[in-house]
Amino acid sequence: MQGESSVRAGLRRGAPLVLPTLALGVSFGVTARPVIGVAAPITMSVLVFSGGAQFAALSVLSAGGGLVSATVAAVLMNARWLPMSFALAPSLTGRPGKRALEAQAIVDASFAMAGRGDGTFDRGLLIGATLPQASAWITGTIAGVFASGLLHNPDALGLDAVFPAFYLALLAEEIRARTEPHELRTVGTVIALATAITLGLMLFSAPGLPTIAASSAALAGLRTWGSR
C-alpha cells in the first residue's frame, strides 16, 4: 500500500530527531519539576506535545508570571499551526473527523518534510515523521522529571541549538528543491522578508507573534505566480 510505505518513509525521516527530541524532553522535565511538579509536565507533554509552547509557559511561570500570561504565551507559540492546518487541509481525505484527527500530526519539522513543494502534502509521511518525535518527547519528559536531581543545567549540553540546526537543514532542503531561477528568487525573497519581520518584531513583541507574522512572507508567492 502506498500509504503504508509513506508512513515508513516518514518514520525514517523523523528518526534523526529522536535523540535530540529525547534530550529536549529531558531538559523540559528537569526544568519543569521544581516549578510545576511531577504529574503536570508529563500530562502536558502527552496532551500538548509542543516544545515551543511548553517552554514558553514554563519560562513565564518560573519568572513569576501569572497563569494567564503563561497560557497566552503558550497559545501564541502554537498559533503558527493555524496557517499550517489550512495548508494541509486539501491533502487530507476521508470524513471530517478523520481529517481533523490526522491534522493533529502537524508539528513544524514534519510539516516541512511532508510538503511536496507544489502546495500538497504527503499525509503518511507527516504522520510517520511525527510518531517518533512524539514518543521521544514524552519519554524524555518522564525521564527528565524523575532525573531532575541529576542534571542541573541542560543548556550546558547545547541542547537549545538542536532545533535551530535541524530547521536550518530543512530550510537548505527547501532551497535546493527549487532549481528554476524564478523559484530561487521567490524563495530568497520569502526568506529575506521572514528575516526582517521576525527580527523586527522580536525587538518588542511577545514570543510567538513574530513567527505568526512572518508566515505572511509566503504571500510573496502571489506576485511571482502572477508574473509567470
Binding site: A57, G158, M202
Partner: protein
C-alpha cells in the same frame, strides 16, 4: 497549583483546535494555483522565523546574541559541506556547549 491544570486544559483544547480548523472549515476543496504557490512557501517562511527566534530570543523581549550563534554558524558550515542531518545537529549542539564551557 490547580491553576496549572487549567493552563494545560486550555492549551490542549486550543492546540487541537488550531490543528483541526483547516480540515474542518476548508474540507477537501482543491487548491487554486495561486494558493498552492503561497502554501508551498509557508515552510521556508516559518523555518526562517523559527531559526531566528530560537537563536536570538532574549528572556523577555529583544534580541540576545550568545553561544547559540556559534551553533547556528557551525550548522550552516556543516550544511554547506553537505554533511548528514544528524552530524549537523550534533556539531551545532557540541559547538554551543563548547562555547559555553570556554566562555564560562
Amino acid at each position: 497549583m490547580s491553576g496549572v491544570w487549567i493552563l494545560i486544559g486550555v492549551l490542549f483544547v486550543v492546540t487541537v483546535a488550531f490543528k483541526a480548523v483547516g480540515p474542518l472549515l476548508l474540507g477537501q476543496r482543491t487548491l487554486a494555483p495561486r494558493a498552492a504557490s503561497v502554501i508551498s512557501l509557508l515552510a521556508p517562511a516559518l523555518l526562517t522565523s523559527l531559526i531566528l527566534s530560537q537563536t536570538f530570543n532574549a528572556p523577555s523581549t529583544g534580541l540576545q546574541v550568545d553561544a547559540r550563534l556559534v551553533g547556528f554558524v557551525v550548522a550552516g558550515v556543516a550544511l554547506a559541506r553537505r554533511l548528514p542531518i544528524v552530524a549537523v545537529i550534533v556539531l551545532a549542539a557540541g559547538a554551543t556547549a563548547l562555547t559555553r564551557l570556554v566562555a564560562g
